[in-house]
């Protein structure tokens, strides 16, 4: 703890730091780094969104119009990888950088220099990933899950993707160690673990999950790399390997990864709902236990992604039961949020709207999740648009809506300015409308049997695909409104009052000026 304070060298920490580009390159300030994470992830969100627009444009009508099948596969693969590793995950790390020190009363992250390094790895990884479109053979085209042997067939693009995943993994592991250390060692006096804000709790648990599973991902991509270039046969049956082994290892990472992207979202929602209900969070300790149970269960359900790969009935039954069990702690969370709202005194500013939208749509995604857990039904919907609809309900209207909610909620604290409430509400309602237009009909497409990752389809799927594409274009455009709202807030928003949300109770609102100064909590606050 003393090591990170580092302000023993005479001059206090005022705002003198390099200016211009060097400020951002050399910064060790958690707020600067948080800001960079958020801008990076939004940029990646636009890139991934552009790819999504390409996919939906091709699928607007049956037949091949815009993207040849090879390029279409590159688009779907990179859309997935960029959104998961470039947009959603770094955005949550950005929130952690900004908010964890502010919410636990710490002056900065525990490892400030490593924090800088974890961020600056990201643009390198992103360059490799996006640059792979321009190498001979194009980008990886084996799906974001890059199952071998297909991914063993790919060209240089696959190698670039593997290196990119390695770098992203290293960044995530460093970020997680930093977050764990900060939370465990740098809480203000009096803030026991069971007094921490829910956002901090969810990130603590998420960071442990990351440290557990990112090395597994690194391992599996390394095995793929050696299979590709160094004559090993981990995933090649002709050499004594097994392609299904890849799937087991990948999903041992991949399923906890799903929760890595949703647990911090639960945390953000659990901060916002009490604030705008003007009532404490209902069942705080059961929320903590539910989060921990979800994290633990998430490590023993991976093979539910592989029910059609073929496994013994006992295996299918185990993974079905374990998966269904996750519904219990998740339901507890939804009930607790509802109980928090119950008999509150609610107002519906943009963060609250996005939070309610989150709960509403996440529950739909949760239901389709339970449906997918049921083996016979999963075998019917596996690798169809039903699965696409399911995970976009939990990742877009889940993780992404929570990120929007968090951005609107904390932007006054970060910048000292208010966003435009009317435009914020427009952003919410348009997102809500277009999101459902895009993804709800995909449930029907999947049930009727349209496979995912196809550039073309039978005429029976034509009308729903057209609706879905129109929705996607609307959703994409709506996100430019978000960009406009944020930029105009930062540049010329109205000055935010000291306490813009009357129900907020966490340290950053009660103990710090608005905007938060460049260096905060140099003397830790005392929490009762």
């Amino acid at each position: 703890m003393a090591a990170v304070h580092g302000d023993t060298h005479g001059h206090g920490h005022d705002d003198h730091h390099p200016s211009g580009i060097m400020r951002w390159v050399t910064t060790t300030n958690h707020k600067d780094i948080g800001t960079m994470y958020l801008w990076f992830s939004f940029t990646m969100f636009l890139v991934g969104g552009f790819l999504a627009m390409g996919i939906r444009a091709e699928l607007y009508q049956p037949g091949i119009q815009i993207l040849e099948p090879e390029l279409f596969n590159q688009f779907t693969t990179l859309h997935g990888l960029i959104m998961v590793f470039g947009a959603i995950m770094p955005a949550f790390v950005g929130f952690a950088n900004w908010q964890v020190p502010l919410m636990i009363g710490a002056p900065d992250m525990a490892f400030a220099r490593m924090n800088n390094w974890s961020f600056w790895l990201l643009p390198v990884a992103a360059t490799l990933l996006i640059g792979s479109f321009f190498v001979p053979g194009g980008a990886a085209a084996g799906g974001w899950t890059f199952y071998p042997p297909l991914s063993t067939q790919g060209g240089l693009g696959v190698d670039l993707m593997i290196f990119s995943v390695h770098i992203l993994g290293a960044s995530s592991i460093m970020g997680s160690i930093n977050i764990i250390t900060t939370i465990l060692n740098m809480r203000a006096p009096g803030m026991t673990l069971m007094k921490m804000p829910m956002f901090v709790w969810t990130w603590l648990i998420t960071a442990y999950l990351l440290v557990l599973v990112m090395p597994v991902l690194a391992g599996v991509v390394t095995m793929l790399l050696t299979d590709r270039h160094f004559g090993t046969s981990f995933f090649n049956a002709a050499g004594g390997g097994d392609p299904v082994l890849f799937q087991h290892i990948f999903w041992f990472f991949g399923h906890p990864e799903v929760y890595i992207m949703i647990l911090p979202a639960f945390g953000i929602i659990s901060e916002i709902i009490p604030t705008f209900s003007r009532k404490p969070l209902f069942g705080y300790s059961s929320m903590v236990y539910a989060t921990a149970s979800i994290a633990i269960l998430s490590c023993v359900v991976w093979a539910h992604h592989m029910f059609t790969a073929g496994m013994p009935a006992v295996g299918q039954l185990f993974f079905m039961y374990a998966t269904m069990l996750i519904a219990v702690p998740t339901a507890v969370k939804v009930f607790n949020w509802t109980a928090t709202m119950w008999r509150g005194s609610m107002t519906f500013e943009t963060p609250m709207l996005f939070s309610i939208g989150f709960i509403f749509l996440f529950v739909i995604g949760g239901f389709s999740g339970v449906i997918c857990a049921i083996v016979p039904i999963d075998i019917q919907v596996q690798d169809t648009y039903y699965v696409i609809a399911h995970f976009h309900y939990v990742l877009v209207s889940g993780a992404l809506f929570a990120l929007f909610a968090g951005a609107y909620y904390w932007i006054p604290k970060w910048t000292g300015r208010m966003y435009n409430e009317t435009l914020g509400k427009w952003h919410f309602w348009l997102s809500m409308f277009f999101f459902n237009l895009t993804f709800f009909v995909q449930h029907f497409l999947g049930l009727a049997g349209m496979p995912r990752r196809v550039p073309d389809y039978n005429l029976q799927f034509a009308d729903f695909n057209m609706i879905s594409s129109l929705g996607a274009f609307g959703f994409g455009l709506t996100q430019l409104l978000f960009l406009y709202i944020m930029i105009s807030c930062i540049r010329s928003g109205e000055k935010a009052p000291q306490m813009p949300w009357e129900g907020a109770k966490t340290l950053e609102w009660t103990h710090l000026p608005t905007p938060a100064p460049y260096h905060s909590f140099e003397k830790p606050p005392v929490v009762n």
Partner: protein, 276 residues
């Protein structure tokens, strides 16, 4: 602002959409294709019943939440209460989902065990996935020895939008997999190059094809007809263009089909021998 009515409207319309999904059995475009085997039928019914369960829970949870949103708002002067936990409530709403899950899991378990039982088939067919077509070998039972490839028969011009698309666009092949009605058909599935998946939704069958490994599944078709499916595991550029078409025939027709196939292949073999 009419945000109250907007919220209500959004809630009602979403509910309407969701319930249309539950009662979607009316039209197959909203649901699984009409089931043609016992497993597909059980799966279909299970899905409908789970939809109703989900709908009831959905209405339960969100009627409480939306009542709260309408009544417990600052703009109507509601003062916030200050309760923050209730052990009794929390125990109850942990136990109730557990019970619901057990009720959901029970029928599914029986179907899983039935699906996995590939023993004592009337006939066995091997399906092999290639980039990008399927190969079929009749290994055992009536038709043993028949062997052929099955490629998409949709003309390239239709895919490139130079010709109008037919009814079975992308779902038609040159050689159908022909099976007799009412017989237990075991399909052993493998692949030659990369992963594929052999899938026929109406028969309730989907199994990944894994190079170097054999997996199996089974179906018994209830009635004669043609049932279509697609490769369901990304396998490269023509993944969308390797459909599966199963033609179920009455016993007599099937016997005749087998006879034709075997004599055709006998001719081929003898020609082959003569050419030597």
């Amino acid at each position: 602002m009419g945000s109250k009515s907007v919220v209500t409207l959004a809630g009602v319309s979403a509910l309407a959409l969701y319930s249309s999904m539950a009662v979607g059995s009316l039209g197959s475009r909203y649901n699984f294709p009409e089931p043609q085997s016992i497993i597909a039928k059980e799966t279909y019914d299970m899905h409908i019943w789970l939809m109703w369960v989900c709908l009831v829970i959905f209405i339960g949870v969100f009627s409480v939440m939306f009542y709260s949103i309408l009544k417990h708002r600052k703009s109507v002067g509601h003062k916030a209460a200050n309760f923050h936990h209730s052990t009794a409530a929390e125990v109850i709403w942990t136990i109730i989902p557990c019970i619901i899950l057990v009720v959901m899991a029970w029928p599914a378990t029986k179907t899983v065990i039935a699906m996995k039982d590939t023993s004592s088939p009337d006939m066995t067919i091997k399906a092999t996935g290639y980039q990008w077509m399927w190969g079929y070998d009749y290994l055992q039972g009536e038709g043993e020895g028949i062997s052929f490839f099955s490629r998409i028969s949709t003309p390239r011009a239709q895919i490139e939008n130079k010709e109008p698309k037919g009814e079975h666009y992308l779902l038609e092949v040159d050689n159908h997999v022909v099976v007799p009605v009412g017989k237990k058909v075991r399909v052993v599935i493998t692949a030659n190059d990369v992963l594929h998946a052999w899938s026929v939704p109406a028969l309730g069958v989907k199994q990944d094809a894994i190079p170097g490994f054999i997996r199996d599944t089974w179906f018994t078709a209830d009635k004669a007809g043609i049932y279509r499916g697609m490769c369901s595991e990304l396998c490269g550029k023509d993944h969308a263009f390797m459909p599966i078409v199963v033609e179920v025939m009455e016993a007599d027709d099937y016997a005749q089909w087998v006879a034709t196939q075997l004599s055709a292949s006998a001719v081929k073999t003898s020609m082959h021998v003569e050419n030597k």
